[in-house]
Amino acid sequence: MKQPAVIELAILQGKMLARNVSFWSVSLLIAGLSMLVFGYLFKPDARPFSLAVIDEDATQTSQSLTAAFEGVENVTVSTRSRGEEMQRFQDGKLGAVVILPHGFEAGLTHGQTPVEAYFDASDPVRASLAQTTVAGVIEKFNQQAIPDRAGAVIDSRSQGTKHVRFIDFLTPGMVGMTIMWTNLVVGALMITWREQGILRRLGTTPLRPSTLIAAQAISFASISIVQSAIVLGMGALLFGVELHGSLVFLSITVFLGIMAMLGIGYAISSFTRTTPSAHAVGQLVAFPMMFLGRSYFPMDPPGFMRPVVNAIPLSHLNDALREVVNYGGGFGDIGVHWLFLLAWAAAGFIASSLLFRWQ
């Protein structure tokens, strides 16, 4: 029975890649270690901090919300006067100040009532931790204390109420990073084949470059998909990282990310001549991408860097992955990122097919 050449070649290419253990294990190990380190050891989310609750309403409802804050682990709650607490906040001694204003209880009976909250932005990790904590407490309070009403709303002074832990943020970034590392390797692979004369040998056969590239893309994509599943599975099993969005959108995002990185990998192979230089160029591309592309840390680049960061395919891959995984984003949120990834993939593949040479 005859199998199409592209399938048979993809399977054999997949075997070659699978047997090259360091190829697929290193990026996976980096991702796994990063998640373990930030999920268990450093736990930026679990750092204890102080929080002041100023109860100006002094009703039963406001007191029960105050009590809810006092029950949170790793949080020291103080309830002094407003002036005193604001002074401590200015001195940087508090991660957040929550103010339950006059008429808090009365407001709840009408629907919504605002809660004022201040977060100390000078320590971003503590600030995001405090934001998450305050938002979490209020959400829980809403559900338990007043399930039939709309509930308390945090005032606009406090932004970023997304309930995202650092590990939630990190996991999609690790998926993006793994996709990048794995697929950029195709560039070095092509150079090695060219150096060893394997491409020259294939050039004497009826094999078309498009068939070869399609077969390689299929096998790299398969490995990348398995790696992504492992990273996401590890996040889910060890750290309870949830997939809020649809699996279909996640798959499309992963697929487009793979294609964009493969495109860049092939482009690298068109512009470099030796395997060491392909590796060097690959790392020169990959390391800045990894950090500027927000795989590890949220980053707000300074103005002049913004166009660069916004052009990086990994930024779009990570943003799209986070939209899907963390926020359950839809096409409206990730469509732009998809377009960017598609453009990178198209540019890379077109450039490399124009510049393709067997030797």
Partner: protein
């Protein structure tokens, strides 16, 4: 309520986007299938006969006579082929005709232009001038059809280290319409015990046999081998020669390059001797040697001064070449008479003979008599 900002925009998934991406990928797949189908039909029609015999059970069984090739036509013809790299002429007006069932050798030192010549036949390089006809088809225009019908082994061929022997054969096999079964190849090239071994762990001889097996996965009419035995130990070289002779017995046509004089003499039916981009002699090894004016070569190094005129004046000597190291090749029709006179001459001149070798004329002498140099320096 604190989630409200993010969940609000969450569930507007667009089915259009999904449909679009599926459509794109489907259309790409469809286009590729169409291209494959059309080209398959085209070449099957052009070939006329047995495209419907995909699995060739044995190397010899399939008959795929291209219609343009008539009985007695050369399988391969090069007509005044030229290849230049900038100012350097790598191949200069080379004309060769290779007949069906022949083992044709291109003999010459490194850098003579053998590999470039072969690469033009293989389609890896385009000639700057002249024309190449393979199996009756113009090589440039019918490259895709020709690629189906030739087998190639490149110089110091590297294969995928991470694949097993069997997988390597499968990888090459899948590229062709006509495919010899893997089992046949494993038996034929004595690789059955190694079928599950990775290529990286094979011996030199085994790698060589695998490379040769890869060259015949499509049961080719014409097999092109670039320095196939370079770097092999003598034992592996003998095994390799046997395999080549088996292929010849199957009616295959084989063109190989070599810088081993013995290989050309023993294996090849006809030889083209190549040097500095040109073919300097062509014929059967026996003819080439017989055409020399001499039967033996005396190679000697004198410890003392002996002028060339007196050497040339020795009886039965037909020619003389001086080497860079000061030793001489003396070509003679009668080795006994020349030798006796040579010893007398040395005594007379007060010189001693530091080194002396006598041998019957070989292809190497053909090369030396044309160029003044050895094949391998």
């Amino acid at each position: 309520m604190s989630h409200v900002v993010t969940f609000d925009r969450a569930r507007r998934q667009s089915p259009i986007a999904l449909a679009l991406s599926v459509l794109i990928s489907l259309s790409v797949t469809f286009r590729n299938q169409m291209v494959r189908a059309v080209s398959g039909v085209r070449s099957a029609a052009a070939r006329g006969s047995s495209a419907a015999a995909p699995e060739a059970a044995a190397l010899a069984t399939t008959k795929r006579e291209p219609e343009r090739l008539h009985e007695g036509d050369p399988v391969l013809a090069l007509d005044s082929v030229v290849k230049r790299y900038g100012a350097l002429v790598a191949v200069n007006a080379v004309s060769i005709e290779v007949n069906r069932g022949e083992i044709f050798g291109i003999l010459g030192p490194n850098g003579a232009g053998k590999t470039t010549t072969l690469e033009m036949i293989e389609g890896l390089r385009a000639p700057d001038d002249g024309c190449i006809t393979i199996l009756g088809m113009p090589a440039q225009r019918q490259r895709r059809r020709i690629q189906q019908l030739i087998g190639v082994q490149l110089q110091s061929q590297t294969l995928w280290q991470e694949l097993t022997v069997e997988e390597t054969l499968r990888a090459f096999r899948t590229l062709f319409k006509n495919r010899v079964s893997v089992e046949t190849l494993l038996d034929r090239f004595a690789l059955r015990e190694k079928r599950r071994s990775l290529v990286g762990g094979l011996s030199g001889g085994q790698k060589q046999r695998l490379a040769l097996a890869c060259a015949v996965v499509n049961d080719p009419e014409l097999i092109l081998l670039d320095e196939p035995t370079t770097g092999l130990d003598p034992q592996a070289r003998l095994v390799f020669w046997d395999l080549i002779l088996d292929m010849k017995a199957d009616g295959k046509t084989i063109v190989l390059t070599t810088h081993y004089m013995e290989e050309a003499a023993q294996l090849c039916d006809r030889v083209a001797v190549m040097d500095k981009a040109r073919i300097i002699a062509m014929g059967t090894p026996r003819e080439l040697v017989r055409e020399l004016e001499f039967d033996n070569t005396i190679e000697c190094l004198f410890d003392g001064d002996i002028d060339q005129e007196s050497l040339l004046a020795l009886p039965e000597v037909t020619g003389l070449r001086e080497q860079a190291d000061g030793s001489h090749f003396i070509f003679t029709k009668d080795v006994a008479r020349s030798m006796a006179a040579l010893i007398g001459l040395a005594e007379h001149k007060g010189a001693t003979i530091a080194n002396l070798q006598v041998r019957s004329a070989t292809l190497e002498d053909v090369f030396i008599s044309f160029t003044g140099r050895r094949l391998r320096d």
